[in-house]
């Protein structure tokens, strides 16, 4: 593998890892919103956030986490897979 190929490979994996980080961040940064919706419903108050939107966002984020973890694993094993 030439230096250029090695660098390109690294950059590709770094991008996958960044996307994985973003997906995990989406989950971690919206955890408090789910908690607040849950508290509001316990207290029979209105949802402070749009629950459907939050949940849909988080479901997508989880799917992204799974996807990118898989991609990274395959990348590390030298298997290429298109998104």
């Amino acid at each position: 593998m030439t230096q250029e190929e090695s660098i390109e490979r690294f950059n590709q994996r770094a991008e996958l890892e960044h996307n994985l980080t973003e997906a995990k961040y989406t989950l971690s940064s919206t955890d408090y919103k789910i908690l607040k919706i849950y508290e509001a419903r316990i207290m029979e108050k209105a949802d402070p956030y749009n629950a459907e939107e939050i949940i849909a966002l988080r479901e997508q984020a989880r799917a992204d986490v799974n996807k990118y973890e898989q991609l990274i694993a395959e990348f590390n094993n030298g298997t290429e897979e298109s998104e």
């Binding site: 770094a14 890892e17 960044h18």
Partner: protein, 754 residues
Amino acid sequence: MNIIDIAIAKQLAGGGGGSGTDNYNDLSNLPKINDTTLSGNKSSSALGLQSEINSESKLASDLVDDTNQDNKFVTSAEKTTWNAKQNAIDADHKLSSSLVSFSEAEAAAIASGIDSSKVGQISTNQTNILLVKDATEELVDKGAKNIIDIQTPEESLLTSYTSTANGGVALTIKNAAWTSYRVRFSTIINTAYVCKILVDSAPTTNVNVFIQNSSGENYTGGDINSNTTEFIREFTATETALGRLSINLNNEGTPLTNAITVRVMICTKAEYDISPAYEPYALPNYDLTYREQQDRNALVEVVDKGAKNILPPTDLIPEGDGLSNNPNLTCTNNGDGTYTLNGSTVENGTIIIHYSMTSDLYGGYMLSGCPNINADSEKCRLSIYTYAAASGVCQDSGQGKEIPTSFDPSFLAIYVFAGNTFNNVKFYPMICTKEEFKISPSYQPYTLPNTDLTRMMTPFFTVPINHNMIYRGQNLGDTLTADQDTALSSGNFTDLYLGDYWTKQITIPAFYEVTAAEPADWSTNYTSYYTKSGDTYTPVTGDTAPTWAANTYYERLVPSQTVTLKAVIADFDTFYAGYASDYAVINTHHAAVIVTGFNNVVWNKTNSTAGGYVASLIHKWLVGSALPQIETWFGSAKVLSHQKLLTNAITGDAASGWAWSSQKIALLSENQMYGSKVWGGSKATNGGYEPGEAFKHLNVFNHIDANLLFGNKNIWLRDIASAVWAAFLDNRGNAGYSDASNAWIAPAALILLS
């Protein structure tokens, strides 16, 4: 009346009682000479008398006896010679210059015949006077006869001067205005002097010469013209002060057009009368003595500051029968090469203080250090003993002792004599060369010789990577010299050290960026935007804002700056691996150089670190505006590219993405500055990529505080502290972070020079 007449008179007077007679021949008992009776007409030879003296010369020649030193008579020839010399003495009792000097034989004869009781008296022998005359002339000419140093002027008004051979000076006029060449000389009141100027190269026009007192009033003076070869004036000093010789090359408005070359002598008239010959200026003996003493003082300092004492200290605890036989005596090793005795002795004995004697003491060394207390009685010695007892011992009793030529030293010891009391008696053992001891016998502690120091220090300078341990901070100039170029490219780094720097004033052009969308203030502020033609940016003009179009209008994000940049060597071979490799390591020797001195530039146009460092305005400005000027400064080929791992994305408040790219320039990182992360950092699982290739602490910061290197300025770093903050070094040397759009922080870039 002679004897014979007296005798005849007595006889005629009837002395003796008989009748008188007037006939001498009738007398009885006639007188005799040499038993010959005086009668008749006898010759002198008949009477046994010497031949008569020749009336033409005082003595007959056969009376001369030159071999008999008691003989006071002289020959005619000697009389003639003497008279001739006598006639040469004039009324002033001075000898004519035509007189002949003593021959060696004459001088030897005179010397052997000198009557000590007459020493000091003026000899009437003319040849003695000649000897004294020659000696006096020589004494005068070899002394400090000439008291004026014509080559050292007090002032040279509009005159150029050049020293010439034998104490002379060549003078030329600088312009046609009033000129003078003035030299001071010392005078003693009421002393007569002679000023003699020898003109070696005559002037084309008249030159004034004035001999003046300290106030500039003339003692005497005159002109030197084109025919003058010798200028002589006498004067008597009216003060004890500095007189002045003034040579004016612009006599009455007629400037000299050529060079006049002169030799000048001022001496006392008494010296001049003994010897009028020119002698160049010479320092008087008291000045020479003073200078010699200064030189000697300097020599003593050089010797004492050098590696004089070759006896290294030891931690050996003193031992020997000098202590065991004298229980009341202690000898303390003071740890600095000196020893102290306290107590009393009842027996003689040896106290060994040093075993590690060098064997290189064959000839030319001195042992010293015994206290000088042995004048009245034997108390102690400082001694070197040899392996072979037959070779003896070298002992110092307080005055120093020369170590014998063939001497194989074994140990150094203090020898004590019985019956003595020692009260804090200190020994200062020193071994030095005889010559050093002669110049300065004072004790100096042991110092490594220069050869050993050089041997120890050599690896620091000759092993290239050791240059990472040496800080020098020297100004290397404003360009890369050929030697510096070779030192970098070869990897020897000869005469390059940490902190060394190049410095140059450089203009960094403004940085523009094309507007990607119509700016919000376009309609009102369009004149602050630019169009581009080639490399030229022109402000938008017109009474109203033109219609915005993509790829047409530019925003000036960083103004131009003319600054004095400093390129400081921060590290050597930071990324050198010795082989072609991946990523950051390279196979080219280099110095990591910090370029500082820029004006303030924002880290980003807006208060955001989105897109990471690689998307920042400051990095784009470094690459687009600063780097081309730095490449012009050092040469494009000298500024190396290598792979840098730069942040290109953030998630939340931290960097989350990186990519390798080939770069020639970038901001420093916290790791490079501080040696560790402080405010930057990633929360990602792969956050270890954060410092990128810039994870190593630069060696220059092991020697100098970062704040000092940057001159107490705020300096941006490339680390991301949050979504809106970037890391920086504040002007008090603290590790900080700031809004990315702050305009009071400056960049400092890292480049690699090969």
